[in-house]
Amino acid sequence: MTYLTKPKLHHPALKRNDIGFTRRDYEGAVSTLCAGCGHDSISASIVQACFELSIEPHRVAKLSGIGCSSKAPTYFLGDSHGFNTVHGRMPSVLTGANLANRELIYMGVSGDGDSASIGLGQFAHLMRRGVNMTYIVMNNGVYGLTKGQFSATADKGSVAKRGAVNNDAGIDLASLAIIMGASFVARSFSGDKGQLTPLIKAAMSHPGAAILDVVSPCVAFNNHAGSTKSYDFVRDHNAAVNRLDLIVGAEPMEADVPPGGMIEVPQVDGSNLRLRRITPDYDPSDKAGALGFIQEKAALGEVATGLLYLEPLPRDLHGALNTIPTPLNQLAEQDLCPGQAALDAINASLR
């Protein structure tokens, strides 16, 4: 950890976004994570994404569970709302918050232990309900905070720092999320901000359950030879399907088509996601194809990254429940208790 606070001084050419904030305005407290932890890089990407999206910090709610990863929200968006839940319970608290106030932008930050071990049930239900949020898993294959035990996402056969071999099958959170109904599923690597930041931006703009499984090396306990979540291993086995270049307006862009070709995916709000193909023919709207591809790569010992699955016209929980546009927490007593006449009418309709 670092004892000094980061100096307020900044580069003289530091830019301001459309609403007058600099990137530095989206930072949080100085990190107490281990120096070199992948989680800090993801925090930096979140800062960059929110800056580029010109999000007002007070409109974001960051929720997390327990773990080094779940501590990370303290280190970004210092002026946003935050909630540290108990271990593995971020999804239910977030779901409740989202139901009560649909106007905030929800970000859930979790670890592989928090999401795939103790919190697996919560994870699955949040996805299938389609809660409008961005779910970021900082996935390092271990319980970092409790000193490096294998987590449920550790690959079978990977070796712990002290030599123990993992005999259990690893849970692939991206595949699970696709199966459970998430409408935006991506995977990335903390060491590749060029890929990660645009994916975070796209996920935060997606009006449904968006999950980003980000491989994030634990330098203290899982960055050795034999680990499949180390900087070196991920760099050597990264199979990127596409790069998300930008989010563009509805009008078609003059194409500067890269060798692999481009895909433009229209969004509900009228914008387009523009993807540069890396794996030829990979179609992120093909659910079964996505699942198959992830499996194929895994069988080769590779990690599929990029925007893996996207449902262009998602429905979220509020849509399914048909709640009113006004956030529930803003309803006054007369809205919530409309009186005897209204109750009588409802009762009559049920007879």
Binding site: K8, L9, H11
Partner: protein
């Protein structure tokens, strides 16, 4: 780009902006840290070695270091407003001089037995004094000649005592002569040929630029009694020959001499003293702080006025007329001053001080002794590096070498000339200059502990307290600046960013985790695909648009990319090294010191 060669002493030297800009390359951040620790004597000695006159320079230096200071590029405008100001490097030097203990025991002494070589220095200003000190320490016998009765050159005869007390001059002259083997003789040298005929192994000419420029416009002769050449007038004041001036005074000229003239005039009875310059206020040669000091003494500075005539009534000067001009620039950006056509202003006056420039004059150097003069400027031909003239035994330095400069340049020349003289007499190649001494020490003491204070202060520059105006104007030799007290000095010293504590990168240890990139408050670090410098500069986390500042390139990373650090606005806060899990970044102090004669 190629990987940076950090073993080249110039690489990290350049990063220490102040030290690099200092003509004598004084190790600035090192002495500033010593001041923060209250080690004034040590701070003084570091200065004394490099620039010979810390007490004098701490009050008078032209301070080329300060505009170069990193803080002018990095201060936060929300705290300091538009004025991003350097560390008060110069006035901290004075702190070392003011609060040091008795340093006489720390001074070097000439060896008991001299080496038998005899050197003559003509003129006893800062350039000659530096030559004398450097060579005497090595065993040379040095004799200083000056037409004036005391050592110091223009330091003593020109700079007013309200800026530089005599006691400070005397003290620092003493440190030099106490080295031993340095003789002083009052003598006006009227023939270099004669000196060459004497028994000297080498001769150093440090006679300055003693002639003040005159102004030949109508009325000059008729008003001669009340028109004075600035530098001559200042030395007459200094020697006590002049102690009054008229109530209404015009000072012509916009340089440092003009500023000293007007402030001196205020103290000798001048009630309305005006500085009048041809150029615009911004283009004046005087340093901004000297203009501030003059204006604080109720001296207006009128600009864009070209002198036209002196007016005399009843045989006495009564005023001057001027032509108003404006600046026009041609396509090449060259300025010309063109008349505006407005009516000529008339300014009343009793005395005029002419401070419009200084010139060299070498009537005493014969042109047939094998010492070549440049035909156009009538200046001796002198090598910029070795300071040797075309006569192998004769060297020039200070204002005599390339025209009027300042004290710190005189000292720098003195050091270089001393090296050359020694090399000449050892039969070595004068062009082969000694490399600076470089001492590298890691500053890491613990996981998050550094042996320097890396917490960055955002305080704006602290002001040096001044004596009350009335009291200052009433006493010609009362020093106006009172100097920082130790508390203020500490606060000001803490503004220094320790630019000599370098970020040193070991590519072999780097795992490219981005921790340094993420923590760096100044966006100085990038991992990128290599490319040509121009292209690379634009592809960084923050574009590196200041081409005067180097890019530090580290090669040999796992992904084949390069580490690029833009040195421009790095705070030397060490956070990159704190956040690095493998120790690929380290903070190391590069103590770089110029090699002076005898050290090589």
């Amino acid at each position: 780009m190629r990987a940076t060669d950090i073993t080249d002493p110039n690489y990290f030297h350049k990063v220490v902006d102040c030290q690099w800009a200092c003509p004598a390359h004084t190790p600035v951040p090192e002495y500033i840290r010593l001041i923060a620790h209250g080690r004034y004597s040590d701070a003084y000695m570091i200065n004394w070695k490099s620039n010979v006159f810390p007490g004098i320079l701490g009050r008078t230096c032209d301070r080329p270091c300060e505009p170069a200071c990193r803080r002018t590029r990095v201060e936060d405008e929300t705290v300091v407003g538009a004025r991003k100001e350097p560390v008060a490097i110069c006035r901290l030097k004075r702190v070392a001089a003011d609060f040091k203990d008795d340093v006489s025991g720390l001074m070097p002494r000439a060896p008991e037995v001299s080496n038998g070589r005899k050197i003559a220095c003509i003129g006893a200003g800062p350039a000659s004094l530096t030559v004398a000190r450097d060579l005497a320490v090595m065993g040379y016998e040095v004799t200083l000649f000056d037409q004036n009765p005391q050592l110091g050159g223009m330091i003593r005869t020109q700079i007013p005592h309200f800026r530089l007390p005599v006691s400070v001059i005397d003290e620092e002259m003493d440190y030099i002569t106490s080295v031993g083997n340095i003789a002083f003789k009052q003598r006006e040298v009227d023939s270099l040929k004669a000196v060459l005929a004497e028994d000297w192994d080498a001769i150093f000419v440090g006679t300055g630029a003693p002639r003040g420029r005159d102004l030949a416009i109508p009325g000059r002769d008729a008003a001669a009694a009340n028109i004075h050449i600035g530098i001559d007038w200042l030395s007459s004041v200094s020697f006590g020959h002049v102690d009054t001036v008229g109530k209404k005074v015009i000072v012509l000229g916009g340089g440092n001499t003009a500023m000293d003239c007007c402030r001196t005039a205020r103290r000798l009875g001048g009630e309305t003293v005006k500085v009048i310059v041809r150029s615009g206020f911004e283009e004046m040669k005087a340093s901004p702080w000297e203009k501030d000091d003059a204006m604080a003494e109720d001296i207006p500075i009128l600009n864009f006025m070209t002198p036209k005539a002196f007016h005399v009534e009843d045989g006495r000067l009564v005023g001057m007329t001027f032509e108003t001009v404006r600046a026009e620039y041609d396509e090449k950006g060259r300025r010309s001053l063109v008349p505006t056509g407005d009516p000529d202003p008339y300014v009343e006056c009793d005395d005029v001080l002419v401070a419009i420039g200084q010139e060299n004059a070498f009537p005493w150097i014969e042109r047939d002794i094998g010492l070549e003069f440049d035909a156009r400027w009538d200046m001796p031909v002198v090598d910029r590096v070795t300071l040797q003239s075309t006569h192998p035994k004769v060297f020039f330095g200070g204002d005599a070498a390339f025209g009027p400069e300042n004290i710190i340049w005189a000292a720098a020349h003195g050091h270089d000339a001393a090296i050359s003289i020694h090399k000449l007499l050892e039969g070595e190649d004068l062009k082969d200059r000694p490399a600076p001494l470089m001492d590298v020490v890691s500053q890491k003491m613990g996981i998050h502990e550094w042996s320097y204070d890396n917490d960055i202060r955002v305080d704006p520059r602290f002001k040096v307290p001044h004596r009350a105006l009335e009291e200052s104007l009433a006493n010609l030799s009362a020093e106006v600046e009172l100097g920082f007290d130790p508390v203020l000095a500490f606060k000001e010293a803490q503004r220094c960013l320790n630019c000599d504590i370098q970020t040193v990168f070991a590519p072999k240890l780097c795992i490219e985790c981005d921790a340094c990139v993420d923590i760096c408050p100044m966006d100085s670090i990038t991992f990128a695909d290599n490319g040509e410098e121009q292209d690379l500069r634009l592809r960084l986390t923050a574009p590196a648009l200041n081409a005067d500042q180097d890019l530090y390139i580290g090669e040999g990373l796992p992904t084949g990319r390069v580490m690029v650090k833009d040195e421009d606005v790095c705070l030397h806060c060490g956070l990159c090294a704190e956040r690095c899990p493998t120790g690929a970044w380290d903070m190391r102090k590069y103590f770089i010191e110029m090699t002076h004669a005898g050290q090589a």
